[in-house]
Symmetry: C2
Subunit: 377 residues, 2 copies
């Protein structure tokens, strides 16, 4: 395999590159020399990915296509995807497979859907279907965000299963509806927790609260585009895309308020002050935050054998920040942050650990890539 | 007061500037607009400072002078300072006042001293004396590092009193003697704890260990140039200057080994690997670390009223890094790091909170300054 530099400009220019083209670079990091390989090019703004038991992947493209991708570069488009509203930040978003996929072949998709009643609004929704030879079959919608609202912004969303089999769905505040994040009568700016069939767990925190939507797990979020289970505690961790400054890692607890937009470490994109307040009774502090924003996407705890010294560390992808932030975790605290891949691979939209213990990212680009990170030999 | 830019080059060029010249700049930080004033110029490589009850300061100069400085810029040189070995990193180092200074007028100085027996070695030592009208009187040496060793490197040292009245002295590994940091028969790479009269506390961790020096509190340090008591817990916190990469914050516990040079996050200045190992049984992990090194000097917990949103935060000065790192602390964890004063003031050698709640730093320069940081109006 040739080793040539990967540059985002080079990738962006290589629109005509054929699927399966490999471009590799060896990079030095604090603990490892790593080899970075673009296994697949030509993905149109890929958003989410999930490994199947055979080490192939499902990858969503924001425009609405679901791809089945093998690590050798073979790619095909699957059928059965719900219609999506591909505007602004909306479209086909995350993909996850059922914890019992080997038995039930269930695949879950999050996406922005038009108002089924015909209004001009939209919202995040989640559907599931059985993966057959050509695509998804017996597709059913298991979650519809409320209310429908006409916006191109802040749909979330990541899909994560709890150890007990709940499905967490992370959502966004829909931009101009940011105040909704503080009230419980809507799904904007919330993390929700449902059963995979769409049912509401009876121990959800607001099931007995008048006027509250029972799916809500936590609130006061801005745009949660990253989520992962902590490998030891089983807790949900999330990362939310802040305003200019103020990207946050949170550990959302049942019924807790993470403060947006009442308290934040961010400022608006035009530098106007949102609030000087960072603490308020009844709101939780982030576990960690970035100012200025790196524009966080998804997060991943590393548990593999390929990089023993990275075990337990938290990896966070960044869009505008064009990096993967490695947060060196020790005894529950962050000891250090290292920026990996800086300006070498592009805007990182999703990050996952493969069954081989390597790390995989997809890049947010019209000619997006699936990139593999493994130890250099 | 005129507001003109402070630039380190400007300060460095202003060798002829008279004492008391004020140069002010208004800088934006994440939480405050701050005004940065150089109250005093013309300090020759100042190293340590301590406020007196009347809000004037004692400031050491590395060459061996102890200055009495008022915030209006008045400066005089005090007498009674022990002779120092002003070579390389050695000289007159830290200064601290006794917790009962109002009653006993005792001032403590750390410095590098020549071998009293006439050998060519040197070590860190600590002396104390009573502050009279013109300087220190009745000076006595209360600590002498062992062994004496002929080196220009890594003397530590900061002086911090515990809530119970012990005196912590932070030390360095003397450079080429770095392996000494792992053995208990010497003071190299140690934090020691004594009584202010030089006596050894009977509950020190190694008082009953054969062959161990009884002053030792913790070991496995490289060059501890910063220390502070946590304002709530009363614990000693230290920051040590690492190799290229690997500056560490530690919370030294009695008898614990902080790993140097067996485990470290650093590499040598020539980029050669010290060790790929970061964890080893019997050694403690840092609380936080920097790679690359910012070249840490002293640290300070902020407890004042001038900057309410900075209360509880940890501020760490940096030499080559030419900044003050603000570590935003919440519930015992670091949520965020902000670089303050970057490349605006110069190499920061010491940082202290004043009785007025403002923050004061001194700069390591032949024409060093005392700089005041207060909220902009
Ligand atoms: Ca928040
Ligand atoms: Ca260490």
């Amino acid at each position: 395999m040739k080793t040539i530099p990967i540059l985002s400009s080079l990738l962006a220019a290589a629109v005509a590159a054929s699927i399966g083209t490999t471009q590799a670079a060896t990079l030095e990091t604090e603990r490892y020399s790593i080899e970075v390989n673009a296994l697949v090019d030509g993905l149109a703004n890929p958003w989410g990915m999930a490994f199947l038991p055979d080490s192939s992947l499902l990858i969503t493209e924001k425009g609405g296509a679901l791809k089945h991708v093998k690590l050798d570069g073979t790619t095909r488009t699957l059928t059965g995807v719900p219609e999506v509203v591909a505007v602004g930040q909306g479209g086909l978003l995350d993909v996850a497979i059922d914890p019992d996929f080997a038995e039930n072949q269930l695949v879950y998709l999050s996406y922005s859907e038009a108002d089924p009643a015909g209004g001009d609004g939209n919202s995040t929704a989640v559907a599931r279907g059985e993966l057959g030879d050509n695509g998804l079959e017996n597709v059913e919608v298991i979650f519809r965000g409320a209310p429908k609202y006409n916006s191109r912004q802040h749909f979330g969303s990541r899909l994560v299963f709890s150890p007990e089999g709940h499905l967490y769905i992370t959502l966004g505040d829909r931009g101009s509806r940011m105040q909704d994040a503080q009230t419980l009568d809507n799904h904007h700016g919330k993390v929700v927790r449902i059963w995979p069939d769409g049912g509401v767990p009876e121990d959800n925190p607001f099931v007995d609260t008048d006027g509250a939507l029972p799916e809500i797990w936590s609130y006061g979020h801005r745009n949660v585009q990253g989520a992962a289970l902590h490998p030891d505690s089983g807790e949900l961790w999330t990362v939310e895309h802040g305003p200019k400054g103020g990207d946050e890692i949170n550990i959302p607890e049942a019924g807790s308020n993470y403060g947006w937009p009442v308290v934040t470490y961010g400022v608006n994109y035009d530098n106007s002050i949102i609030t000087r307040e960072t603490h308020k009774d009844g709101t939780e502090q982030p576990f960690y935050y970035w100012v200025p924003s790196i524009a966080t996407s998804n997060m991943m705890f590393y548990t593999g054998d390929a990089f023993p010294q990275w075990q337990g560390d938290l990896f966070v992808g960044a869009l505008r920040g064009q990096q993967v932030a490695r947060l060196d975790m020790e005894d529950g605290r962050i000891m250090h942050e290292e920026a990996l891949l800086t300006d070498r691979v592009g805007r990182i939209r999703d990050i996952e650990q493969g069954p081989d213990g390597y790390i995989y990212v997809i890049t947010d680009d019209r000619n997006g890539s699936l990139v593999q990170i493994k130890p250099a030999e």
